[in-house]
Every structure is written in C-alpha cells, then in structure tokens.
Symmetry: C2
C-alpha cells in the first residue's frame, strides 16, 4: 500500500507551482547534465559548456576586489590583524565594523535591518549620490536585493475594494519579478519596452498597460529596471520625469530596481531618488523603494548575498509592518554586510589600498565596456540577428529571426521557438544562454539573453559558436 502524501500538487500552495525562473530553469538543468556527461567521458561536439545564463561575474572570470576580501578575512578572524601583509586601512575598516558587532563578533546577530555602521555608510553614499539627505531608518539590508524586493512586494498583497492587486513590470523583465509576483499571488501587468527605440520606456504604453490592468485589478506599484535587465538601456532624465509624473497621477508606488547603477557603460545614470527630489513638490514627497546590490557592479560578490532597499517616505504603520517582517527573518549575513560597507565606501585616494583597488576596479569596468561594444558589433553582423546598443548592465539581449519551419519543429516538441533554439544551441555548441521568453518579449519576436562577462577569448569563442550554429540552424529550417 502506498502512503498518501500530505502535500500534493493538488493541495500545495498553487502560487508556488506557478513560479517560473528561466535564469535557473530547464536550460541550466540540461547544461548541468551535459557537464556531468562530459565528466563521465560522453562524447560531445564541444569540449565544455559555456555558461552565459546568469550574471555571475566571478564565475565568468571577474576577479574579486582584494580590499573587500581582506576586510572579510580579518572580520571573520581578527587574530589575523597582526598580519604584516595587510595594510592599515583594511585593519582600520575592520575595527570600525567590529566595534558595531556585539562583543566584536560577526557571529552575533545584527539589528534586523543591518548594523548601524553599515546603514550610516549607506546613508553617506546615497546622500552624496542624490544631493538629498537619506535616513538610516529607511535602509533595510537584505540577503541580496532579491530578498528585499520580495519584502517590499509583499506589502501589496491585499485586495482593494474586491479587486486583486497588480504590479506593473517591464517586458522584457528580470524574472525575479515575475517569479516573485507568482509566488505572492500578485497580478502581473506588463508594459512593453520599445525595442525599435533602444528599449525606451514610453509613457503611452504605461498608460495602456495601466488602463487594461485596471479593468479587473487594482494597480498598486510600478517596477522600473534601470539600467535595464536584460535590455541594457539607461533611462534619460526626461523619460524618468515622465515616469514619475505617470506614477503620481495614478498613485502608484515606484519600485526602482537600480542594481546595475555601477555597471554603466556609456550614459549618465540618474537615481529615481535624485530625479524626484529635483522635480520638487509634490513628487519629492512620493514614496519610493530603490534597490541596490553588491552582487553586480565592480564588487560583484553575488555569492555573499548583500544588498539593501531604501524605502523612503513610507507611512509610519507601513514601515512598522515591514520592520516586523524583517525582524522575523532575524538579520542578513554580517559578512555580507561587511561587503556592503566596502562597496559604499571603497578605498579613497591617499589610503594604502587605493592604488590596487582602483587598478582592479578600472580593469573590470574597461573589459565590460569592451565586451559591450564587441557584443553589439558581433550580434549585428550575424544575418537574422539585431541588437541594440548596451549602455548599462552586463547583458546582451539580441533579437533573432526564427524561420517558420523551426517554429513548427519547436511546437512539435512542446517548446517555445526560442526555447527550442537555445536548447539546440546548447546541445550543439555547449553555449548556455536564456531564451527571451524567460524575460518576456513582444509576441512573434524572439530573443536570447547572454551575459557579456566572459574573458575576451572565451567571449569570442562563444560568439563564433553562436554564429556557426545559427548558419546551420537556418540551413536546416529555412
């Protein structure tokens, strides 16, 4: 007799059944399988899998910043303070942090919103960036930005006047948003970015999306990803003012995913906090949640899970609810908080660690800039491919034309055309990218997302593989 399960697909939280997360989805699962097959000696038409599915910078060869790692080592093991190889500014930084850890141990709980010293450092960073004061009480540190994005989205889970809540997100989007909306049972109201105009965010499209979603739901918040992920555009200041104005008119809470603000390649970045402040009243009093992470940018310490939200101008009771929810989660990793401390205040000129720090930081930024223009050039030189310029972030999101016969072949396998394409690319070349459908795209258009983080040789190898594969694919299905 088979024991009946307590939880089944029928009675489990149905929202959790609906979670899709393409970045770590079936294509990655297959890539991992192929890696294991290669290890076991199974012959493949390629030597190894090239993972380009996730913005995992260190995994793709970006070296860690030495200053951060030395701070971590000494914070974890203060006995190493006597090491003559470590400079005084590192030791000074560690002392500052440990003074704020109870009994000087990173193993003690911190306050649930983060160590005071780190939140003060965040405030200094934000104040300098935006030219307007920030408050440590508005800062909630998290295990990466994902963690606090979910916490803020949770605030909206509430029917209003019998209507279910909805949140506007861009399409294409980063699937953290669609996945978290699914998990929380929040409706997703899509607005499409304008690919023909460098993925611009058009206000009339926001209006359309809001109008349609408002028919049967109550739209609560507007998510803006700037710089764009996967799309790589950087919003202009004028565009941002239009967006703020739109949110004001429809009483929408702006959630600004600004995690790529340190991955700017070719255009000036403006924070929503700054733009709203400079627009003056009433915009400067609007609520805002802005997300920053240590997982991207020049630090790119995604494995160490550190980020924060600045949740500004929340109503007192709402802030209390958010604070209570964070308290139940105890606190984010204190070593993660140390990383954030370093990112918010890196070594300054004149400090012993500065020369090495600035060399490492600039090398990272330079190679990213080079890769962005290589990706743009290479993709646009493959027939059937087109790619906008990459102004920020660390991805290319080229559009690719897929012949009708390929679309039929995909349908026979129960796959979306771009899934089929990316899966064949993986099987034939070992290159692992994410199909555009994982991020959303205009119906009938097909894309893929690749990181642009690989070292030049590997990146070239990947581009060559895609080009060769595409030719074969077209020959087969045209």
């Amino acid at each position: 007799m088979k024991l009946e399960k307590c939880i089944t697909e029928k009675n489990v939280n149905q929202n959790m059944l609906n979670i899709q997360y393409a970045v770590r989805g079936p294509i990655l699962d297959r890539a991992v399988q192929i890696e294991r097959e290669i290890e076991k000696g199974v012959k493949k038409p390629f030597e190894r899998v090239v993972r380009a599915n996730i913005g995992d910078c260190h995994a793709l060869g970006q070296p860690p910043i030495t200053f951060i790692r030395q701070v971590l080592a000494l914070a974890a093991c203060p006995a190493l303070m006597s090491s003559p190889d470590i400079t005084d500014d590192v030791k000074g930084r560690v002392r500052q942090i440990l003074e704020d850890c109870t009994k000087g141990s990173v193993g003690s709980y911190s306050p649930s919103n983060g160590l005071n010293v780190v939140r003060q450092r965040v405030v200094q960073y934000l104040t300098a960036r935006d030219g307007v004061a920030a408050s440590p009480d508005d800062i909630y540190l998290g295990s990466g930005a994902s963690d606090v994005i979910k916490a803020v989205l949770s605030l909206f889970v509430q029917d209003i006047d019998g209507k279910p809540p909805a949140v506007m997100i861009p399409i294409p989007q980063y699937p953290l948003f669609s996945g978290t909306l699914s998990e929380l049972g929040l409706r997703q109201a899509n607005y499409y970015l304008d690919e023909e105009h460098d993925w611009a965010l058009q206000v009339q499209e926001l209006e359309r999306s809001w109008r349609e979603a408002s028919q049967d739901s109550h739209v609560r918040a507007l998510v803006v990803i700037n710089p764009g992920n996967p799309t790589g555009q950087v919003l202009t200041r004028g565009n941002m003012e239009d967006i703020v104005n739109f949110a004001y008119e429809h009483q929408l809470f702006i959630m600004a995913d600004e995690v790529y603000q340190e991955n700017i390649i070719s255009k000036p970045f403006h924070s929503f906090k700054k733009v709203m402040h400079e627009m003056g009243a009433p915009y400067s009093s609007m609520e805002l949640a802005s997300f920053v992470t240590c997982s991207k940018g020049w630090a790119a310490e995604c494995g160490l899970r550190a980020g924060f939200v600045e949740a500004a101008r929340l109503q007192r009771g709402v802030r209390a609810a958010l604070t209570a929810a964070r308290a139940v989660a105890q606190c984010p990793s204190v070593l993660g908080q140390c990383v954030l401390d370093c990112v918010m205040k890196p070594p300054a000129p004149g400090e012993a660690s500065y020369p090495q720090f600035i060399r490492e930081k600039k090398a990272t930024q330079r190679t990213l800039t080079e890769r962005a223009s290589t990706a743009y050039r290479e993709f646009n030189s493959i027939p059937g491919y087109s790619c906008n310029t990459i102004d920020g972030s660390m991805f290319a999101f080229p559009r690719v034309e897929l012949p009708e016969r390929a679309q039929l072949a995909a349908a026979e396998l129960g796959l979306k055309p771009d899934e089929f394409y990316c899966l064949r690319l993986l099987e034939e070349t070992g290159v692992c990218v994410v199909p555009g459908s994982g991020f959303g795209q205009l119906p009938g258009s097909f894309h893929l997302r690749t990181t642009i983080l690989h070292p030049p040789d590997e990146f070239q190898h990947m581009m060559d593989s895609i080009r060769r594969f595409h030719t074969t694919f077209l020959n087969r299905y045209s």
Copy 2:
C-alpha cells in the same frame, strides 16, 4: 496639501500588520533606547542593560570556534593560504570548498539549494546521526533555519475544500512560528505543553487541538520544537512515537524544529528522522521537514546565517515547487555555507586543529550545563517563581506569580501583566528579558524567558537583579 500615501495601514498586506515578534519587540526597542540614554549621560538606577532577550551566543560571550573562523578567512581571501600560522587541515578544508565554487570564488553564486560539497557533508552528518541514508536532493540550505522554515510553511498556503489551512504549534512556542504564520495568513492551532510535567507533549492535548481547529480549518502540519524553545525540555523516544502516530492518523506533515540538537544538556536527543525510520512502515515513508542551524549549538554563528532543511519524501511536484521558490532567492551566503560545512564535519582526532577545537567546544558545553543548573536552582529559590529543569536549548522559562494589583496596574497601561513586569524589570534593573506572552502561555499563568548564556559573573548579577526587583515589585503590588 499633504500627499496621499500609496500604501497605508488600510491597504497594506494585513497579514504583515499582524506580525508580532516578541524577541525583537517593544521591550528590546526600549532597551536600545535606554542604552542610548545611558550613552548620553542620563542617570539610571543601573550601569548598563543586560540583554537576555535573544539566544545570541557570541553577543553574550561565547567565543567563536577558531577552526570555523580560519576556514572563513581563507575562503574569503585565498591569498592567505601561505600563512604559516594556519594549519594544513584548515587549508585542506578550504581547498575542498573552493573547488566546488565556480572559479574558486565564494563570490560566485552557488546552486540555489547550496554547494554540492556542503550538501554532501550534510548527508554524511544526517546518515551518521540517523542510521538511515539521506539524499542531497532533499537538502535545502538557507539563510539560517528561519529562512527555510518560512519556505516550507509557504507550501501550506492553500484553502482546501473551502477551508483555510492551519498549522499546529506548541504553546509556549518560538515566535518565529506565530510571526511567520501571521505573515503567510496561515491559521495557528495551539496545543499546550504540560508545564506540570516538565513541559511534556501530551497526545490527548494534540487531539483536542486538532479537533477544535478542524471545525473551521484544514489542519495541514504539526510543528514540534525539540529541544523545546523557550521551554528547554527534550522529548522522550516514546513520546515521539506517539506524536508520529498522531500525525499519521490525521495526515499531518511533521515539521521538526531541531535547531537545539547540539545544545543538549542532560537527556538523549532523538531526531524525528531516526524515530520514524526505526518505527518502520508506514511511518518511515511519511513526509518530514527537519530544520538544523549553525546559529545555535557549539558554533552559534547566528550572524553568519546558515542552516538547512531536510525535506524528505516530498511528492515530486511539491519538491519542484519548493525548488523553484528557492531558485528565485538565488542562493544562501556562500560564506554561511562554509560555516555549515565546518559544523557538519568538525576537526577529527588526529587532525591539527582538533585539540584546540575540542577544548573550545567542551568549554562552551560545560558552561551551558553549569548555567542550566544555576538558573534552575536560582529561579526556584525566588518566592513566587517556579522553573522546570532545563534539559536542552539555551533558555530558562520560569513561571512567576503576579499579584492581582499588578495585573490591574498593567491593564491601566494597556499592557499584559507579564509585559508590565518585564518592562518594570528593564526600567529598574536594566535586565532585558522577554515576557511569556510573546511565546504564548496558559491563560492566567505568567512567565518570562531569559537566555542562560551570560558569563557566570554577569549571570549571577542578572539573577540577583531579578530577585531584588521581584521583592520590591511584590512589596509594591501585594
């Protein structure tokens, strides 16, 4: 004109408004305030606040385990590998972990359920503990146990046949459970532990609780905290078999909070996994979620946020849903995972780090045992106090009689009697403990929870303060 807020107490997620988390609640807020007042030179009838509200071991003087901290330092900063002060077994351990980190960096994402090497180590630990094989696919690492407890509870958020879901939890309980149930909108079905019989878990009380809750809700899961928090009892094997049988008969999913399994003072600990295995079919095939943490025990690295759930025998689709939800959160801190690796396989006899490790571990365990008997003796010697023996965990949860006049005085201030008592204790002595109402207690009975982690002198000072305060309090209100 005042700008209207987008989120207000009226339209925010009402579940979040309901979250109570006594361990970091108003009493702690007041304690922090008093600490600031003292810093500013405000005169108080005591020199400093003694925090006994949270099981924050390092903060209360438990020293970190050197082996763990050396592993962390080298994992963060492999350049220190050449340091002659660090033993070879530490270096070997770090090499093993870094080999499983992509490109050898703890800054790379790990798989969302954790590094393979660490999950394998967990499997070895569990297999040795339980005498039955565990599977790495059942192991989900988290940012502490809290994180994965919430993930598992999320599975039950689903009405069944029009009835809302409920979860049975002990009273007194650890408020992570009540807080998370509130946040998720799950109903809380209380079963009372039997204080007269050393906080035993009586099956007829489970039956009563289940019957009452089943009238208007669908009871899905049974939470058991063993060793008990805040109550400190350790379940007997026979009692556990009864509980398993009860869960089997009512088709309840057992959630075993076993985070204090390494804080055993005086009785043998049995895991639910082992007991269910040894009971044989059908019990050995029942689903089970068991939670383990690095925040407690001899490591007690709560600031580093590491723990895991073994989610055994889940239905395939349910497992996929849990896996998808974890993937959206990316992964737990890789340095936290390093801590777990060390806890699962500490230095063994013959290894260079062993002598120091075992000295440190035993010192921690010895002092905890001493403190448990001191707390028991001292509390029982205060008139009006009674305290059960503390067999596990790191808390005392004595019962205290409060005179009727004190209860009236509390009511006038809108406080529960035990809140009033603990707040007065804080104001007059600086001792910060948590009122029993934060954990739940039989109506009409009053308790407080204190950690028993302080160094002997400080612990004695705390006990003396409580004794003196209690006498004054009785004089005032009798």
